[in-house]
């Protein structure tokens, strides 16, 4: 094994034929830049058992608890009208929040990556702000903006517009917490790709839109998808920010995570875990799609610069 690792450094083709089935075996000769076999085994054992305790067991527990009273109870708790309306609200929120942030991400990435202007790094930092703010504070700032005690509050209520404790507030808070996802995937990639291809397209007579659709978008499609997958997972799963603005009105302003909380606090554990299991499934699908897209991005970067990996 020690010679195999030494080879894989020396021989670039070894990198591509890497298989997952190889098992660490005691080395015949100890390589100078690797650890003794027993150290490797201990490190792998520590790392796998840490992940087992902290990741696999909680995930398994969600499904075990949901199915504790059998499949019949599981299905009937999902068919509850309040659960159903929570699912609908979650999907609607994500359907609004993700596309709006997608459009923003594309606009921000185009202006930041393709043009030079002063204050660029400040702008990038400002876009990242929502990641640095705790979920509860994210919700609170909208309560301060649009709530009954805010300066806009009386005007909004006199016009019959309700934002806080209603769906618009939930959508706004969700947009806030998923704000940077697409932009921060696109900006570094588009900066790295430069403007040569777009300039060539323009000088060959393509319009701005044509250049964007046919040159820029195909180059960034995987990164774009990656950002969409991550922001969708966060949009559907957000709890803290949405909890502050929602008002927890059953069947009306309850998203799935909030419905899980209500059921759990009523000691209706099976129903709570049943709804939670749907969210856990969403998380698993997210992870699978994410790995798939990462693999595609890796392949694309190999195609464009094969020498870099070797």
């Amino acid at each position: 094994m020690s010679t195999a690792t030494a080879l894989s450094v020396a021989n670039p083709t070894e990198v591509y034929t890497e298989t997952e089935t190889e098992v660490v075996t005691p080395p015949v000769v100890q390589s100078a830049t690797s650890e003794p076999w027993w150290v490797r085994w201990i490190l792998i054992a520590v790392s796998v058992s840490f992940l087992l305790f902290f990741l696999f067991i909680p995930l398994a527990a969600v499904f075990a608890e949901a199915l504790r009273k059998g499949l019949g109870t599981y299905v009937s708790s999902l068919r509850d009208p309040n659960a159903w309306s929570a699912i609908q609200l979650t999907v609607i929120t994500a359907l609004i929040a993700v596309p709006t942030n997608l459009v923003f991400g594309l606009a921000a990435a185009w202006s930041i990556a393709k043009f030079e202007f002063p204050g660029k790094s400040l702008l990038i930092t400002l876009i990242d702000i929502p990641f640095a703010i705790s979920p509860v504070v994210s919700g609170l700032i909208y309560v301060l903006m649009f709530g009954a005690q805010s300066s806009l509050g009386p005007w909004l209520s006199s016009h019959g517009i309700q934002i806080i404790f209603a769906v618009p507030g939930i959508v706004l808070a969700t947009i806030f917490v998923t704000f940077p996802f697409v932009a921060r995937e696109l900006i570094p990639l588009m900066q790295e790709q430069g403007t040569e291809e777009e300039q060539a397209a323009i000088s060959l007579g393509a319009s701005g839109w044509q250049t964007f659709w046919r040159v820029t978008l195909p180059n960034v499609k995987w990164a774009l998808l990656y950002g969409v997958i991550l922001s969708n997972a966060r949009a559907m799963g957000e709890f803290g920010a949405v909890s502050v603005v929602s008002g927890h009105i059953r069947g009306k302003t309850n998203t799935m995570p909030l419905h899980v909380e209500i059921l759990y606090n009523e000691y209706n554990f099976v129903a709570a875990f049943a709804v939670a299991s749907l969210l856990a499934l969403l998380a698993l699908v997210t992870l699978a799609l994410k790995s798939l897209v990462e693999w595609q991005m890796h392949r694309q970067s190999l195609e464009t610069s094969p020498s870099e990996e070797a």
Binding site: E18, E20, V23, T33, E35, L43, I44, V46, S47, V48, F50, F54, L55, I57, P58, L59, A61, A107, A108, S111, F115, E116, F117, P118, G119, L126, I129, P130, A132, I133, S134, P135, V136, L140, I141, L144, M145, Q149, L172, G208, A233, M236, G237, S243, P257, L258, E261, Y264, A272, F273, A276, L279, A280, L282, A283, T286, L287, A288, K290, S291
Partner: protein, 279 residues
Amino acid sequence: MALLRRRHSVLPGFGLTMGYTLLYLSLIVLIPLTALFVKTAGLTAGEFWATVSNPRVVASYKLTFGTSLIAATINAVFGLIVAWTLVRYRFPGKRLVDAMVDLPFALPTAVSGIALTAIYAGNGWIGQYLEPLGIKVAFTSLGIIVAMTFIGLPFVVRTLEPALQDLEREHEEAAAILGASRWQTFLFVILPAILPALLTGFALAFARALGEYGSVVFISGNMPMRTEITSLLIISKLEQYDTAGATALATVMLLASFSILFAINALQWWLGRRYQGGL
């Protein structure tokens, strides 16, 4: 807007996309954030200080800060081991393990909160073995640490992985030729090179733990003075229509997370300079 004067470029669309970016950023992020500071500025210094230095609130700072620090430290140690094994070794199921590291990002916090509570409760899968030993996890500060460790784990691993991949084997070979043991090589060659990434991961995990709400509230039990985190206090103040109090606490938390963000940026600047100069 004069600041944003661009250099000449043949590409179209700068005005449109920059205008939209600034408008959207202002509407969604900057103006609502300003509302927080305006509201805080409306409080007198006495009111503000009375709220943020109330004993129950101070207890919540100590708890939140302390548990976040412990969780981030646990993540730094185990995250380094996980990242190391994922980058350097091959073992069966590695790809699955690699994908699972991101689970805390993908799993909604409320779901991880109730799942961890179910496991560590007295009758749970792990809790039933710990409770006879006198270790109570659920509804104690230990439970808060468990939840914060769960959500912070990917930050350390994902920040360290690229740093470990970028390490040049030649440095380790040179150290070995010069007679260093593997442990000495790790301590004096590898660790200094990945330290900025390790610190960044630690800071990110710490920042996330400070603001965490969803996964903590279920397992913490929320007893005033003992297991009540600051985020929860903000929510309970809001529920009592004490908007001013909630705002004051939010300002404190916001300043804390901005200082961490600033520290991370300074760290990355240091990292960039080191790579340009030293290596």
